[in-house]
């Protein structure tokens, strides 16, 4: 009989629970949840503010998920230390939980750079959790001017979510473009035009020099008045528990393709983990939900004595604003194939006979066919790429591949 403990209660934890239960139906599982909520779709917190979902629909699993899986859920409890030798997790209430297998799925925390006089701002929020979203919601009012620091995925999603509920939303970023982690200059410009058309205002290549209650003094000399401030500059993986227990950490908790850390019996998964990224052939934090689930599941299977590895993880993202979707995957290196219109861009990157990555804005039907080519390293010489690059279609695959995909029993 094992004694499983999982720290954190996000999607990686759900993957871990389901992974464990695919092998071991019996042994008890304890989940330590810092947040006082059952698991919800974290990315939905902006859709909640936008009115596209509600607290009930945001539930990532049904209410009876924990019971059905034999999970003891400790809500609103934080793990403060892991003792890898003794095999225990200490909680903030002093309790010690013994484990035989541990998964650390602690996600990430907002990173707030030291802005001068940030303390003077009363109404300031992060945008990472459901509680953040509920608190922000309370602060919004129709005449409110909102300043969001950070034009990344989280900042922009927040902006979209609140735009119709306030008078104005201004977004600033030190980077010279929006979504700088996934879009190049031209693609970012297309998306920015679309966001501006829909009512957002940007101050790019600029950052806040100092705050004074309800005013931001920008490095450029501009001044921005605001009622509500959202800080969405970036996130940092929660690696402290494993680092302090003596495990290897870098930007994330370093894991192998089976999600094991360097400490015996301890696994890590999700936004806190730094595992293999096929697209660069090195370990990297891939802070996206699909990866959290898959890493969690892989960890769970291995914790329960099964065998699983995650070999083909890549960065991939689908993010839409006001009906315009940007999909990105892999790495942007090699030869470029491009198609452009007024309101769409398609960029495919090929190198060494494989598709390395893509950016698709506006035209993303069936993009998963491209994603699968990246993940499976499908040789370009084995497909009809003249057909495939124009449209994502399985008709571009060889007859044998089509047969394998569509005729074999599933």
């Amino acid at each position: 009989m094992e004694q499983y403990v999982i720290i954190g209660n996000g999607v990686a934890t759900v993957g871990c629970i389901e992974g464990i239960r695919s092998v071991d139906k019996e042994s008890p599982i304890t989940v330590v949840s810092g947040e006082n909520h059952k698991v919800y779709g974290r990315p939905l917190i902006s859709y909640y503010l936008e009115g596209k979902t509600d607290l009930e629909k945001m539930k990532y699993r049904p209410d009876d998920f924990y019971d059905k899986n034999g999970v003891t859920l400790l809500l609103g409890k934080k793990a403060t230390a892991v003792d890898a030798k003794a095999g225990t997790v200490t909680l903030d209430d002093g309790a010690k939980l013994p484990y035989t297998k541990l998964c650390v799925a602690t996600g990430s925390s907002p990173f707030v750079p030291p802005f001068e006089n940030l303390e003077s701002v009363k109404d300031k929020y992060s945008f990472m959790t459901l509680d953040d979203s509920l608190a922000l919601e309370k602060a919004l009012f129709p005449e409110a001017k909102v300043l969001i620091v950070g034009a990344g995925l989280i900042g922009l999603k927040c902006a979209e979510g609140i735009l119709d509920r306030v008078a104005s939303v201004t977004i600033c970023d030190l980077a010279d473009r929006v979504l700088s982690s996934i879009l190049d200059t031209e693609c970012a410009a297309l998306m920015q035009r679309h966001l501006e058309k829909n009512g957002m205002t940007f101050l790019l290549g600029d950052s806040v020099a100092r705050f004074e209650t309800n005013k931001a003094f920008m490095k450029s000399g501009k001044e921005v008045d605001f009622d509500v401030l959202v800080l969405a500059v970036g996130v940092r993986a929660n690696i402290g528990l494993v680092r302090d227990a003596g495990g290897e950490t870098d930007r994330g908790i370093v894991v192998d393709e089976d999600m094991s850390t360097t400490l015996p019996g301890i696994y890590a998964a999700g936004d806190c983990a730094q595992g293999p990224d096929l697209s660069i052939g090195a370990k990297r934090v891939l802070a996206i939900l699909p990866n959290a689930y898959m890493q969690g599941h892989t960890a769970g299977v291995n914790m329960a004595g099964g065998e699983a590895t995650l070999k083909n993880a890549i960065p991939m993202n689908s993010i839409g604003f006001f009906g315009l979707h940007a999909m990105t995957a892999g790495s942007y290196e090699g030869d470029l194939y491009e198609e452009k219109t007024e309101d769409s861009i398609k960029r495919l990157f090929t190198k060494d006979d494989v598709l390395k990555g893509y950016i698709l804005i506006g035209r993303n039907e069936r993009a998963g066919i491209y994603t699968s080519m990246i993940r499976e390293k499908t040789p370009i010489s084995s497909v009809n790429f003249d057909v495939l690059r124009k449209a994502a279609t399985t008709a571009g695959f060889s007859k044998q591949t089509r047969k394998d995909k569509f005729s074999v029993p599933v």
Partner: protein
């Protein structure tokens, strides 16, 4: 499990499966009312390449990427069938990003749609296979244990 399979040698590329699919999932009993003069949102898609055509719909994968990737937890697999709860879907398109078959697309409301084998609509079994004029689409169990081809007609459909 019974699944939808295609035989590209027999597909005529007539697209009837797309219309039958859209009709079966329309909730209406009159095909003309359901489809005429409207954009249709079928859950099956005829692929056309160099002298070939065949229809593609959800494979109900053993290990479905869409289920693992859905940010809303709206896609589940139960009893071998991958289903989407359109009520929970927020239209982020992550499932489109990951499906290796290109088998999901937004419906009229913006929520994602996919083949659910017509098990919950009035057809009761895949309308694409039932209406395929050349038997290029079949609904059968090809798992090693069960090789019997089942093409029993459902009189309630069409």
């Amino acid at each position: 499990m019974k699944r939808v399979y295609v035989n590209e040698e027999w597909c005529l590329g007539c697209h009837l499966c797309e219309f039958n699919c859209a009709f079966a999932n329309s909730g209406l009993s009159d095909m003309v009312l359901a489809l005429k003069g409207k954009p249709i949102y079928p859950r099956i898609h005829v692929e056309e390449g160099d002298k070939i055509a065949y229809a593609v719909s959800c494979r109900h994968c053993e290990d479905p990427m869409c289920v693992k990737s859905c940010i809303a937890g709206a896609i589940t697999k139960e009893d071998g069938v991958v289903r989407i709860d359109s009520n929970k879907c927020v239209g982020c398109y992550t499932c489109i990003l990951v499906c290796p078959y290109g088998a999901l697309a937004p419906g009229e409301s913006g929520a994602m749609q996919k083949c659910e084998l017509c098990l919950q609509n009035s057809c009761g079994e895949p309308a694409c296979a039932k209406g395929c004029p050349n038997n290029a689409i079949v609904y059968e169990d090809r798992s090693p244990k069960n090789t019997v081809i089942d093409d029993a007609a459902n009189p309630a459909c069409f």
